[in-house]
């Protein structure tokens, strides 16, 4: 039985050189290749619908090991493509079309949007800035037993208020930090805070932001972030980059 296949799209760029990427291993053990449409090039591979069809994806996307492996492979292809051009629009995970022709048709439909995205990300990279609230020093638990039930509740009320106030303040500072960095970027995007189990950090995350920065200004941006560390001692600031512009190539239509 011949299993059906589909065309998996990793990214779209302009005039990419096929030579460099051919033979690269893509998702599901496939081989990476390119398809051209007008001046655009889509980086793709042929995938087996047994693994990447709609029903299969519903199963596989719930298996963390599969998601991890696929995301890593996908990202590797995107990075290699980004390295050989100045403007690349990375696609989200598992964007799959019925065939190369179907993919081309879709690219034609999205042409104007794709050109806008490519112009937006040309010679720019994504930088990630994450902020964690430093744990406050908690007074040691040698609090005397409350003298009465009412006293206990009043003490608890005060403790809860203090903590909420401190957390509120740290969140405000994180927002302020975000606005300090905005002038250094061509575009910004805020993402939801990350699951603590995945970050492995105990402290709450107060900011998870992406910045689209001109490559020629990347050093300036990095220094700008470093300058903020002194201004916000209660915040733990993590900066990463430059990355391909994942967050800035988002098209509302799949």
């Amino acid at each position: 039985m011949v299993s059906e296949s589909g065309t998996y799209v990793y990214a779209v760029g302009r005039n990419l050189d096929e030579e460099v990427l051919s033979g690269l291993e893509g998702v599901g053990g496939s081989s990476v290749r390119m398809i051209s449409h007008r001046e655009l090039t889509a980086v793709v591979s042929t995938v087996d619908l047994e693994e990447f069809g709609e029903a299969a994806l519903r199963r596989n996307l719930e298996v963390l090991a599969w998601v991890e492996e696929t995301a890593r492979r996908h990202d590797e292809v995107v990075r290699r493509a980004a390295a050989i051009t100045t403007a690349l629009a990375p696609f989200r995970l598992v964007t799959i079309y019925r065939s190369d022709d179907a993919a081309c048709d879709r690219i034609e439909e999205l042409y104007d949007d794709l050109v806008l995205v490519l112009d937006r990300v040309d010679r720019r990279s994504e930088w990630s800035v994450k902020v964690f609230c430093r744990a406050r020093s908690v007074p040691s638990a040698t609090v005397e037993a409350a003298s009465s039930g009412v006293a206990y509740l009043e003490r608890r009320r005060a403790e809860i208020r203090d903590r909420q106030q401190a957390a509120g303040e740290q969140q405000m500072l994180a927002d302020q930090l975000f606005w300090d960095l905005v002038p250094g970027a061509a575009a910004t995007r805020r993402l939801p805070p990350q699951d603590q189990k995945l970050t492995g950090r105990r402290e709450p995350m107060a900011l998870n932001a992406s910045f689209l920065v001109d490559d020629e200004h990347s050093t300036d941006f990095f220094e700008l972030v470093n300058e903020t560390r002194a201004r916000y001692p209660s915040l733990d600031i993590e900066v990463n980059g430059p990355w391909p512009p994942y967050s800035f190539a988002v098209l509302d239509k799949p």
Binding site: S125, S128, T199, F222, G241
Partner: protein, 61 residues
């Protein structure tokens, strides 16, 4: 073009950073618990982080 600068942090994104960007995600936990203390129905909890309170008639306390 990736820029090589000696001050840049060119580490690859962690898996969680990648999933943030390559996927959409959400979390739901659901469940229901009713509790009381000292004869007062205090809280009806939905563990989906929406909390309502149940007020019991004070007459029988």
């Amino acid at each position: 073009m990736t820029v090589q600068t000696h001050t840049a942090v060119t580490t690859e994104p962690s898996l969680v950073d990648l999933l943030d960007r390559l996927l959409g995600k959400g979390v739901v936990v659901t469940g229901d618990v009713v509790v009381s203390l000292a004869g007062v129905d205090l809280v009806r909890i939905q563990l989906s982080a929406v909390i309502g309170s149940v007020r019991k008639e004070m007459g029988n306390l």
